[in-house]
């Protein structure tokens, strides 16, 4: 739990450090000057538009512009560009800029509404100014017509009507003057004249003239009113501080840009400091890693040393093991040898007994022969010796001697001693012959007189093994079914050991009365196969898999080493062959050994080892 937490903490910490670094990098990203350029460009353009606008307003005022389309074109520009400008201001996310932009928007709107008002007034003013001279002319015409046609008016009225016309003309003149140069004095005069016109005792005038005068007064008043307010509006338009506001906004943008640059510079310094800190941290981390690597290296060296020691120990142990295995093999050999020697001793014992008995009898008979030879020799001496003192005595002695020899030799003949001796000697020779045959077999079996690896006829090996093991096999029925097998290259003494072992086991597994051991040889593709079958008690399945294991034995302690089959398997394997076992409890067991014609060259060392073990 704790290491996980620590690892988690480490990851979070590293992520945090990286995040801070990224944030700093983000903060120091170069400022987008295109926005500032864009804004500056738009503001410059707006200034231009505003200047043109002012010019167009003046042109409209003095009638050079025939319509107000030009005066409205700035609206189209604003409609198209103002949102972008406001958006840029909002993006700047700075209250001063927003304020400046809002201020600019306010003055623009102010100007728009002032221009709207100007258009309204200008249109009315133009119309009235245009119409008034016509209207006054119409009035004049009407007055002339009335004075000429209508005599009912009377002279007094005619004068007044004429005065009316004069007043109207005067008013028109003054009004036009006022229009050209607005002046309070002129305005007052116009107002006075208008009053006079309006005050005229109109009811007595013809209706046509009355309405014409009303119209003139109406239009003149319109001119006065619109002129005054037009001047005011124009003055206001002139005072709308669009240029100032544009400059303010531009300044704000630039200031904010400069601030951003400064801030960026600060962030850049922070980034440098932070990077330096990170590098330091990294250096520390690297030192720590280097240190731990070094200690790891040391531990590693120590470990290697330990491994080396262990390896050495293990190889020593292995050597010991091998040595003891060889000793075991040796002791098994000695055991087999002992067994074999017992058998051989038994074999030799019987003929030796004949020989010994015969020789003992001969030895016993040798006294009689000795007596006979001595008495005969004495007789010969008596016969050939000249009697020196007493003839009779000599004679007597001779006759006595003769009788003794005769008695002795007749006893020889009577007891058929010579025949018996001959018989005994024959027996003895036979016994010696048997002994020498056994020794020959032993030599055949062990092949001590031959090369270690040689061409070998397995059938011969079986024959000599059976002879060696005669002591064992003589109470079993041995059935041999030896096929025509090829000679194989092998170590004959070892193959004999295998055969002896298998036959030995087979005999031991059976009883004396019923035991049948069948030995079969047959050629195979690779070489040959040897089967040793018995009708013994069989091997139980749980033992079957262990029988080739070293030290596994079902025999009593002291009877077997448990190495027999293990060595058999090893010998067969060293020869490049294999050994299989089939066994049914109560029915019997069959060992099958397959041997190749040529044993594997690489296992020669193994064979040598086995041989050394066998001869050491």
């Amino acid at each position: 739990m704790k290491p996980i937490l620590r690892r988690l903490l480490g990851v979070v910490l590293s992520l945090g450090l990286i995040a801070i670094l990224l944030a700093l990098v983000q903060k120091t990203r170069s400022i987008d000057t295109t926005l500032l350029q864009q804004v500056n460009g738009q503001l410059r353009e707006l200034k231009q538009v505003d200047a043109t606008w002012n010019l167009d307003i003046l042109r409209s005022k003095i009638g050079i512009n025939k319509n107000y389309d030009q005066v409205t074109t700035p609206l189209q520009w604003l409609q198209k560009n103002q949102p972008a400008l406001m958006k840029a201001a909002n993006q700047a996310n700075e209250s001063a800029i927003k304020q400046a932009a809002d201020d600019l928007k306010t003055v623009i709107n102010e100007k728009i509404s002032l221009v709207d008002r100007f258009k309204m007034q200008n249109a009315l003013l133009k119309n009235s100014l245009r119409f008034l001279p016509t209207a006054v002319g119409q009035l004049r015409d009407q007055i002339v017509a009335v004075t000429l046609s209508d005599t009912s008016i009377g002279i007094n009225n005619t004068e007044q009507i004429s005065k009316l016309e004069v007043t109207a003309s005067e008013m028109l003149t003054e009004l036009l003057k006022y229009n050209l140069a607005p002046d309070e004095a002129i305005k007052a005069r116009v107002a006075g004249l208008l009053e006079k016109l309006a005050e005229a005792p109109s009811s007595t005038y013809p209706e046509q003239i009355q309405s014409q005068v009303r119209m003139i007064v109406n239009h003149a008043q319109t001119v006065l009113k619109q002129k005054e307010s037009e001047d005011q509006v124009l003055a206001s338009i002139d005072q709308v501080p669009i240029t100032v506001r544009i400059d303010q906004l531009a300044t704000q943008f630039e200031r904010s840009f400069d601030l951003a640059l400064q801030e960026k510079e600060q962030w850049r310094m922070a980034l440098i400091a932070y990077s330096a800190g990170l590098l330091l941290l990294l250096a520390f981390a690297m030192i720590a890693v280097w240190r731990s690597y070094r200690s790891l290296d040391q531990a590693n060296a120590f470990l290697e040393q330990r491994v080396e020691e262990r390896t050495r120990d293990l190889s020593t142990a292995l050597a010991h093991l091998r040595e003891s295995q060889l000793q075991l093999i040796q002791s098994e050999k000695m055991a087999s040898l002992g067994q074999m020697v017992a058998g051989i001793a038994h074999e030799i014992n019987t003929p030796l007994a004949y020989v010994k008995g015969g020789l003992e009898i001969l030895n016993a008979r040798m006294g009689d022969v000795d007596t006979l030879v001595t008495e005969t020799s004495r007789l010969m001496n008596l016969m050939t010796q000249e009697p020196q003192e007493d003839e009779a005595k000599h004679e007597q002695q001779l006759a006595d001697q003769f009788a003794t020899v005769q008695e002795l030799s007749s006893a020889f003949v009577e007891t058929e001693t010579v025949g018996e001796v001959k018989g005994l000697l024959g027996d003895g020779l036979y016994g010696i012959g048997q002994i020498s045959e056994i020794v020959g077999n032993l030599k055949d079996f062990s092949r001590l007189d031959r090369a270690r690896v040689a061409e070998f006829n397995v059938n011969e090996g079986i024959a000599s093994t059976l002879k060696i093991a005669r002591n064992l096999v003589k109470h079993r029925r041995i059935e041999q079914q030896l096929g025509e097998v090829p000679l194989i290259r092998c170590s004959p003494s070892q193959i004999n050991q295998v055969l002896l072992n298998l036959i030995n086991n087979a005999c031991q597994a059976t009883t004396e009365e019923t035991g049948v051991v069948t030995i079969v040889t047959r050629p195979t593709e690779q070489g040959l196969a040897i089967e040793v079958r018995d009708n013994g008690h069989g091997i139980s399945p749980e033992h079957l898999s262990k029988i080739f294991d070293p030290f596994f034995t079902t025999k009593k302690v002291g009877e077997g080493t448990g190495l027999g089959l293990s060595i058999v398997q090893r010998i067969v394997n060293e020869h490049g062959g294999d050994i299989q076992v089939d066994s049914v409890l109560g029915v019997g067991t069959c060992f099958t050994v397959n041997l190749p014609r040529e044993y594997q060259a690489q296992s020669e060392n193994g064979l040598n080892e086995l041989n050394q073990g066998g001869t050491a």
Partner: protein
């Protein structure tokens, strides 16, 4: 990089296209075979711009036209833009007041949709600076469409073909309130109605007959031109209704709509101030004025003389002026006399 072939393809197509147009124009118009016309100069009225000069996106116009007829824009799926701005009724509806969503009676006379892109502001009181904003206001107006963008977008976004058209016309925005507004505005800007009078301004001296020419002269002399000037013959300024003679005192029963621009600015001086309407197609868009109280063009001219010009004119002169006004109807709209 990848726009280059498309662009060059278009550039390649256009001359062929316009050449074919020119050819048909030559065949159809005998006038073109005569002397090359010189546009008139120094006139207070200007001819309509060509549609090409506006450089509108054909996809957006097409899309706007589709939306213009879409009744889903109204809360009860009854009313579309076209309901009050019928193209066969001079771009308006011929009613005194229009009928909006849920059969509600509007408060003001519907102005024509034609040439509305040339107006400096939208609505009688000029409360919108742009056609886009005008769309927004009409959509939200409880008497007109009574919709909102959220619901409308929800509704329209289920229309796969419409969404696909939006994705084509507005690759970056797709279907959005702003793109809907722009599409409708683009369509409206494309609704230009060149008239015989435009041809006259462009130098075709035979486009107008003598009476109409006389009427134009009177129109200028009497001072109608003071307000009804420029390319849209109006539509570029505000003016008080009843400057020389009080219109509302005489008519009575003053409504909120009668206050005009005052409703926008809340300034006393803006009471009864309205946008000067364009006189293009005026002969097709009776009844007249913001209240729709005047049924005939003749009466409308009378009202103007009395309340705006503050002067009188002979019946003959007024008839001439009316004849001139008739020449302002778009030729493609089947101008009626």
């Amino acid at each position: 990089m990848f726009t280059l072939p498309i662009g060059s393809g278009v550039r390649l197509c256009l001359p062929i296209f316009s050449a074919r147009l020119l050819l048909t124009a030559f065949i159809l118009s005998p006038m073109s075979l005569t002397v090359v016309a010189e546009p008139l100069v120094g006139e207070p009225l200007s001819p309509l711009p060509t549609l090409e000069s506006l450089q509108l996106d054909p996809n957006k116009i097409k899309l706007g036209e589709r939306l213009f007829h879409d009744t889903r824009f109204s809360r009860d799926n009854s009313t579309a833009c076209v309901s009050c701005h019928s193209l066969s009724k001079g771009g308006a509806d011929g009613r005194k007041n229009s009928i909006g969503v849920r059969q509600q009676m509007g408060v003001i006379n519907a102005p024509t949709i034609f040439n509305s892109g040339l107006n400096f502001r939208q609505f009688w009181d000029g409360r919108s600076d742009s056609l886009e904003d005008q769309v927004d206001k009409v959509v939200h107006d409880a008497r007109e469409l009574d919709m909102n963008w959220e619901d409308l977008l929800k509704l329209l976004s289920t229309d796969a073909s419409l969404v696909a058209e939006f994705n084509t016309a507005y690759p970056q925005e797709g279907l959005q309130a702003s793109s809907i507004q722009n599409a409708l505005a683009s369509y409206q800007r494309s609704l230009l109605t060149p008239s015989r009078f435009d041809r006259y301004l462009l130098g075709d001296s035979k486009a107008l007959d003598q009476d109409e020419l006389k009427g134009y002269q009177l129109f200028k002399d009497y001072g109608c031109i003071a307000c009804h000037q420029g390319v849209n013959i109006g539509g570029n300024m505000f003016q008080k209704f009843g400057v020389m003679d009080d219109y509302f005192a005489k008519r009575g029963s003053i409504s909120a709509a009668d206050l005009g621009r005052f409703n926008v600015t809340q300034q006393e001086a803006d009471k009864h101030v309205f946008k000067v309407p364009s006189l293009r197609n005026v002969a097709l868009t009776a009844p007249y004025f913001h209240d729709g109280m005047t049924d005939t063009l003749e009466d409308a001219v009378d009202v103007m003389f009395r309340h705006q010009l503050g002067r009188t004119a002979s019946e003959v002169d007024k008839r001439m002026i009316v004849k001139f006004l008739n020449s302002l109807s778009g030729e493609a709209l089947g101008a009626k006399p």
